[in-house]
Symmetry: C2
Subunit: 320 residues, 2 copies
Amino acid sequence: MFVRIAAIAGLCAAPAFADPLPSWADTHAKADIIAFVDSVTDPDSPDYVPPAARIAAFDNDGTLWAEQPVYFQFLYALDRLREKAEVDPSILTTDVLRAAAAGDLGPVLAAGAEGLLEVVAVSHSGMTVPEFQADVRDWLGTARHPETDMAYDAMLYQPMLELLRYLRDEGFTTWIVSGGGVHFIRAFAADAYNVPPWQVVGTRAATTYDEDARVILKDPDVSFIDDKAGKPVGIDQQIGAVPIFIGGNSDGDFAMLDYGSAQDGPFFGMIVHHNDADREFAYDRDSHVGALARGLDEGPGKGWLIVDMAADWARVWSSR
Amino acid sequence: MFVRIAAIAGLCAAPAFADPLPSWADTHAKADIIAFVDSVTDPDSPDYVPPAARIAAFDNDGTLWAEQPVYFQFLYALDRLREKAEVDPSILTTDVLRAAAAGDLGPVLAAGAEGLLEVVAVSHSGMTVPEFQADVRDWLGTARHPETDMAYDAMLYQPMLELLRYLRDEGFTTWIVSGGGVHFIRAFAADAYNVPPWQVVGTRAATTYDEDARVILKDPDVSFIDDKAGKPVGIDQQIGAVPIFIGGNSDGDFAMLDYGSAQDGPFFGMIVHHNDADREFAYDRDSHVGALARGLDEGPGKGWLIVDMAADWARVWSSR
């Protein structure tokens, strides 16, 4: 159906007529993605983009893996806070922390982003980066999701894993640009997504170089929040170029999609719309995580693809 | 002399017995570099490192290109300050700025790093990142070095260009980790070094995303200084892994070399010692830029190569 000249020419690309996105249903979403990739990889196309500029960036929570009932990083933080508090209850210095350690999420969520950050600060700091990342991997190896009972890293979206791989096969570099913590995501991004640590942009804890121990220490303070208008800033800081393909799922991704849209030349924007209560979760405008309103209202007018998860995805979970 | 198994096995590598470093003299420096690269790329070596972890990081000023009589970025800043002040003298709000615009560097240098930053802040802000980078490229295309009368981007070190290329041919990613401004270096790193923008780590101006114009604006404040203990922090922020090959030339690079040294597994550290007044410049302990004392005193004991520029480099300039 789609003549993929670049794939035929490229020795390392997938077989020319194999379906690169088998977990996407045969709807316009899949066709739109493939048509765009064809147009920027075909040297004879007016929209041709050389490989060095084929940069694709994706949000993580709600775009590459699930984010309900709350960000998985926060569930990790809660687990570790409880364990730390059992050893030393004096770390529970505020009502939010005491509620969180008792498993009462109401006061934590009521405190909004600050409540989440408070729990994360106490549970993620006072250790080196490698120690933290080893601990994250330990947790991913044993913890289970409270509703699905699946391992968290089995709750990756198979269609998005295929999209990442397809883009890489077509000469793109694939990046994660997430509101989540950069050290957290890097702990599993290579295994889960085949994305190296330097292609993960995220929210950053302040860090200190300890000149005696010669290690990087994680401090409690947050030094950069990679969300909303922070996402274009993070992209400029770490990538230094504007992606030509950007995917997200919430209004936290609006600014980076809009930044991508503003460039001269071809751009593909996509928003994953969680409308599949049977297989995943259904939420948008009023959700306490991943709220999506402006993207639904303005995205189509900007030419962005709104992915209808229920209709466009033939399969949801990676079930690694 | 050196059997390079990895190069023989790799279809994309340089011809097996061609000299990968022709501008390096046949001294132990060249031999040490090649022996290390052989040891980490030979799958049968106990020191074998897979390509994903073959990360090489280099300082820029004084390591990849010259830095005398003062950092080239500062000479750019001075040129632009003068031009701006001709149009609007009211921007010269301090004694340091007035001296700089009058070409009197004494008071600027006497003010140390703060004096340099003051000039950079006024001359580099109030524009978008692409506008700034286009301006840097314009300047590099016309400006000449005050002593050599060479174009600044002809004052790259040919031996280091060869080293970057050699490392890439052997499966390394090559990074710049500089105290200079990241937007400044990215303006020419792809052309000069074949290093993409995301592989440049540097000092950062604060930036703002303008949601209406959908552009990144450069602000006068500095948000991150990538020097001394800031270099390991910058490496962790942007690379997220510890380089196995690190090169620098001043004590501003000591912390990142020491950070690299502390890892388990193979590591190669090198310091370019500027001792060649005939072909380049001779300076170390007492220089006002690129001062090198601790590296000379402690580097050899840590196993780092001290490159004797006069003896180890058969050629200095790239003369592009």
